[in-house]
């Protein structure tokens, strides 16, 4: 059954168009993660689902009911805020029971719901404490507990882990995934952290400038990004992008030439290319090989910097005329990720390369036209 349906939602703040043509359908029990850079509208979209923000136009349905004009409390949702937003003057018990109290439920029912939530979240010892006496992780759990007691149709999370330190974040991530499996409820989760998105989501929604760029399973999005934005946003270190030009086409094949006299042929394109088109080649750092011999596309470069991350090595390679665009480092160097530890001398010459079937090809507008990659089925 469809849990949340969003139809043609638009949101304007004065002259600012914050949400553009949002259409999204979420099935019951899904864990949907909305990601995007700051200001992309992901939090705004979550708040419009919650009813904390109104939409300028469009419709929203939750569990089949039209909730577009309903107050947050009447939508069958519960929300966990980044700042926890616990009522500071209430005990943990009162915080968790507040929603039911507002709904005028009998005291026995409230007690039972609070006890159940406290059991799930291991908060039994903290029930009589006030938020100030709790640690960050405990406060976050109380906020989640407050959501659970309302037994909502949909849980909404607004960057709930960003105020926690790294270790606690990993722990809470696992706990939240477990909780989702236990409750089987629909959850919509906003984050800017792509690790959270990749690990927790059943589907990821990538937003950019108020628009949905792509919706899909994490591995699907990682392997087959619909466009240059999604390709660049998911994956760390970031995909390498190189500008090129279509110099020759035949059927669904196209030869792309880049600076420095390099070139590569893409076969079985998803849509045909035209000679003279400006395109962008994308290649993930882990698909670049340091010993480029035998690759479809090979070039020489100099090692600029090497980062040893314990189980992998990241090498930044300067390939002279052949520069990358829009890289994390803000320079034109290539990022190469190697799955083991190997020493590299700075300024040493290396030969690197990749195969065309591992690379992506994007049009000038950023649309992906290279053939879809196989995705491991889970």
């Amino acid at each position: 059954m469809t849990s949340v349906e969003i139809h043609d939602v638009q949101k304007h703040y004065g002259g600012f168009h914050a949400l553009k043509d949002i259409n999204l359908s979420i099935e019951e029990g899904e864990f949907v993660v909305m990601v995007g850079p700051s200001g992309c509208g992901k939090s705004t979209l979550l708040k419009t689902i919650a009813g904390l923000e109104t939409v300028t136009s469009g419709k929203m349905r939750i569990s089949g009911r039209d909730v577009t004009r309903l107050e947050p409390g009447d939508r069958g949702i519960a929300m966990v805020f980044q700042s926890y937003a616990l009522y500071p003057h209430m005990t943990v018990r009162e915080n968790m029971g507040f929603g039911l109290r507002m709904a005028k439920r009998p005291k026995a029912e409230i007690d039972a719901a609070v006890t159940r939530a406290a059991n799930i979240l291991r908060l039994e010892e903290q029930l009589e404490k006030r938020p100030k006496q709790l640690s960050g992780g405990q406060r976050q759990r109380v906020a989640i507990g407050r959501a659970i007691t309302r037994s909502p149709d949909v849980f909404l999370f607004d960057e709930p882990l960003s105020n926690l330190d790294a270790a606690l974040r990993t722990q809470m991530r696992v706990e939240l995934s477990t909780l989702h499996a236990e409750l089987g409820a629909t959850m919509i989760y906003v984050t800017h952290d792509q690790v959270e998105a990749m690990t927790m989501a059943s589907r990821i929604v990538v937003l950019n400038r108020g628009r949905i760029e792509q919706v899909g399973a994490p591995l699907e999005l990682y392997n087959n990004p619909a466009n240059l934005f999604v390709a660049g946003f998911l994956g760390a270190p970031r995909m390498n992008f190189v500008a090129g030009k279509v110099v020759e086409t035949s059927g669904r094949s196209a030869r792309v030439a880049c600076a420095g006299g390099h070139g590569v042929t893409f076969d079985e394109l998803a849509e045909p290319a035209t000679r003279g088109d400006t395109v962008t080649i994308g290649i993930r750092p882990e698909k670049l090989r340091i010993d480029g011999a035998g690759s479809d596309f090979k070039f020489a470069g100099q090692v600029r910097l090497t980062e040893y991350l314990g189980r992998e090595t990241i090498v930044y390679v300067d390939a002279g005329d052949l520069v990358t665009t829009g890289s994390d480092s803000g320079t034109g160097v290539f990022t190469v990720q190697i799955g083991d530890i190997r020493p590299f001398q700075t300024a040493a010459s290396v030969s690197i390369g990749f195969d065309a079937r591992e690379a992506y090809l994007f049009t000038a507008e950023g649309r992906t036209i290279s053939s879809p990659k196989p995705v491991a089925s889970l």
């Binding site: 409390g73 929300m79 616990l86 507002m102 407050r146």
Partner: protein, 294 residues
């Protein structure tokens, strides 16, 4: 020198900063208070010799019907002034809307704060004037005759308090507006998600966040009611027949006009005790949550 300063800086710097304030407070407040209590045991015209009378001033005070009039009027002031915080809050909630032009509205409400209270007193004296005042115009509009509020011993205190309430409400309004600005948007959001709206929202989510501001508003209002003096002086001089005096005004009147500094000091001491009791209660309530959260 520099070595001495370096090693003692931790306590010397704060001491030096506190010293001017402490000196001033010590002389103007502490010394003056002690002196006042001391003077209250004497019969003194303010110029000549002081004559020890023990508790006679107090005995006379507690037999003085005027003292009870003042005390009753102070209670009226206190009671009516308690309207200022809720009225200020209500206005603040009303003015705290994201509507264009609200800034102008807010500044209009601040106006009485800019006026000296003497001015407010004079303005209201005119408003109440039975011959040309705004009130008489209003009554005249309905074909009625306005009562001479300031010459009526039953209405006079209420009329003065209403005038004094105007700037007091504005003051509370400013405090609450500042407090409303600092409300946590997420907390309000959490409240809305939990289904709180209207009164429950105000009571369970908004007001707890205004706790500190409310306490300040309450304290300033109580102290303002107890030390009220200027409005009475300007509007009625305690009249008619002393029916609108308050303790502070009676003290002033006895000391300055009747040259009875000992008696005035006794009134001041009683007022001091009332204030001290309130402030002690206030500080206890205010400091308790601060200690808890520390």
């Amino acid at each position: 020198m520099s070595g001495f300063w370096r090693s003692h800086r931790a306590w010397m710097a704060p001491t030096l900063f506190i010293l001017p304030g402490a000196l001033l407070f010590g002389i103007v407040i502490i010394m003056a208070s002690i002196q006042t209590i001391w003077v209250s045991f004497f019969d003194w015209d303010g110029v000549g010799a002081m004559q020890w009378v023990g508790l006679a001033n107090y005995a006379q005070l507690f037999d003085d019907p005027q003292f009870y009039v003042s005390l009753r009027n102070n209670l009226i002031w206190l009671g009516l002034f308690m309207l200022a915080p809720p009225l200020g809050l209500a206005l603040a909630l009303l003015l705290n809307q994201p509507i264009r032009g609200m800034r102008v509205m807010k500044s209009l409400f601040f106006v009485p704060l800019v006026l000296a209270s003497v001015t407010v007193g004079v303005v209201f004296t005119w408003v109440y004037d039975p011959s040309f005042g705004l009130l008489s115009l209003l009554f005249g509009y309905f074909g009625a005759t306005a009562p001479a509020l300031l010459s009526d011993e039953h209405f006079v205190t209420f009329a003065v308090v209403v005038a004094a309430l105007w700037p007091q409400v504005a003051f509370c309004l400013v405090l609450f507006l500042a407090g409303l600005n600092n409300l946590s948007e997420d907390l309000i959001g959490a409240g809305r998600v939990d289904g709180a709206r209207g009164w429950p929202m105000l009571w369970h989510v908004v007001l707890p966040q205004l706790r500190e501001v409310s306490f300040i508003a309450l304290a300033v209002t109580v102290i303002g009611a107890l030390r009220s003096f200027d409005m009475v002086a300007v509007m009625t001089s305690g009249g008619p027949f002393g029916s609108s005096t308050v303790l502070a005004y009676q003290m002033y009147e006895q000391s300055i006009f009747s040259y009875r500094f000992g008696y005035g000091a006794a009134i001041a001491t009683v007022l001091f005790v009332i204030m001290a009791a309130f402030i002690a209660w206030y500080l206890r309530t205010l400091l308790k949550p601060e200690r808890e959260s520390a």
